[in-house]
Subunit: 243 residues, 2 copies
DNA sequence: ATAATTTGTAACAATTCGTAACAGTCGAGC
DNA sequence: GCTCGACTGTTACGAATTGTTACAAATTAT
């Protein structure tokens, strides 16, 4: 498998990088691309644009969303460091992408990306797995949007955020929410007021307490889980299961 | 492109089909598989099952759905002839699949399928395009579920069905709805009553008339489009667009 | 024909929305 | 460091949509 010419991934300081040692992972593909940044609120691309590039979020948070006729906005996802944007589409972006916070990212030409993945038996399954995960997330979101009440929606969202942040910091019980209430509302199919009301209610129940401007400290994670009801199985949540 | 050995697609009656002329399309992959059938209401597979196979619907309609804790059901999609089921998942089914009507289908081992696609530069982009279309559909469904009212939901659904049936029969204005009101409700995030109410209202507006048990004749397709509001753009629907 | 399922209608209830007023936070500039 | 102003978030309340419950009608299955 391609005797190491220089080094796996390090030592690429001689500008002329024309010997493309084949990357072993999707992330490695991006690693040589220049790092760009956009300010909070700026647009990365618009729905319907010719999809010439795709992006890897390195730092910050993006929102991807669709707007329908009368201005209603639907945020179909938030993207965090490590996520790829603009993969699962044919030739035009299906959604717009904006920075929630100052965001650093790497860019890759779609054509080149497709070629690279297409010619690498290692990369192909990685891409496929990403698409599958994206699909699974979309389906869970459909469940949330169509059949969950406001409290369940908010708890599901908070729980997902908590889990995500615990991947990096396993002990933490504090959720950082860089997006606004409007963003959260448009992601959960609610209004800002309902999001506020619900968080207030959860605070009143002692499930969480606000911590700083954009932070929430989770006090009763188990209760949060129970309300979120994210179990894919039949019975009730966790405990309490006899009729 | 592989000189035709026997015939493109016909003449495969000698049982021993061991010379695997490489299929040019995904559909061709399935064509040699045996045809199975399941009765209306029967289960093809369950959410969480080990995903050993994938399926191509040949005739009939399937519903794929998830059930959450207290029995709420979410139909994430209906599958019609030509659709593949069980592709975009890692190793367990993300949803259950049942037959809405008597359904004929072909089965393929997932392992073999992956191998076949993986080794064919022709098949790979076809699979990728299918996944992208599936993703696009999921996102449109998120829009529908999170921000559309009952009337918009029903009209969007009916319009999609009409378009689908016009692909086969371009002139028809009659929609066949083999699924029950409950199925439709669980697909649109409504209740059967609301679906009924809405269809009654649309009938009252002269937009459509019931035709037989499972049929609806569309009288004002344009109006249906306007209510559905499925345009991905900014302004109002189709016409009327000057401020 | 009878039973079971599905669909339709109506009155009522519940949740979420929409509007509005108010409070809190952050940043700019003094 | 402080004040002002803009933006974001919170709370309250009336309104609207959809869900709930109940029942009747229609269709299909036994």
């Amino acid at each position: 498998m391609y005797a190491a010419t220089a080094a796996q991934n390090s030592g690429r300081f001689l500008a002329n990088t024309d010997a493309p040692d084949p990357p072993l992972t999707l992330k490695a593909l991006f690693r040589r691309q220049a790092l760009n940044r956009i300010e909070a609120g700026s647009t990365l691309f618009l729905e319907g644009d010719q999809a010439k590039h795709l992006y890897e979020v390195v730092e910050g948070v993006l929102r991807i969303f669709k707007i329908i006729g009368d201005g209603r906005r639907i945020i179909t996802g938030f993207l965090y460091p490590g996520d790829l944007v603009g993969v699962s589409l044919r030739d035009r972006y299906l959604y717009s992408a904006e920075a929630v916070t100052l965001t650093r990212f790497r860019t890759f030409g779609r054509r080149e990306f497709q070629d690279a993945v297409n010619s690498s038996p290692l990369l192909r399954p990685q891409l496929f797995d990403r698409l599958c995960d994206e699909m699974a997330a979309a389906q869970n979101q459909m469940v949330l949007l169509s059949r969950k009440g406001a409290e369940e929606k908010v708890c599901s969202f908070l729980l997902a955020r908590l889990r995500h942040q615990q991947q990096m910091n396993p002990l933490t019980m504090v959720i950082d929410l860089p997006m606004t209430r409007l963003d959260i509302a448009d992601y959960l199919g609610l209004t800002t007021e309902t999001v506020s009301r619900t968080i207030t209610k959860l605070t009143g129940s002692g499930i969480l307490v606000p911590e700083g401007r954009h932070g929430l400290r989770i006090l009763k994670a188990k209760t949060l889980e129970n309300i979120a009801g994210d179990d894919d199985q039949d019975g009730d949540n966790r405990a309490a299961r006899r009729n």
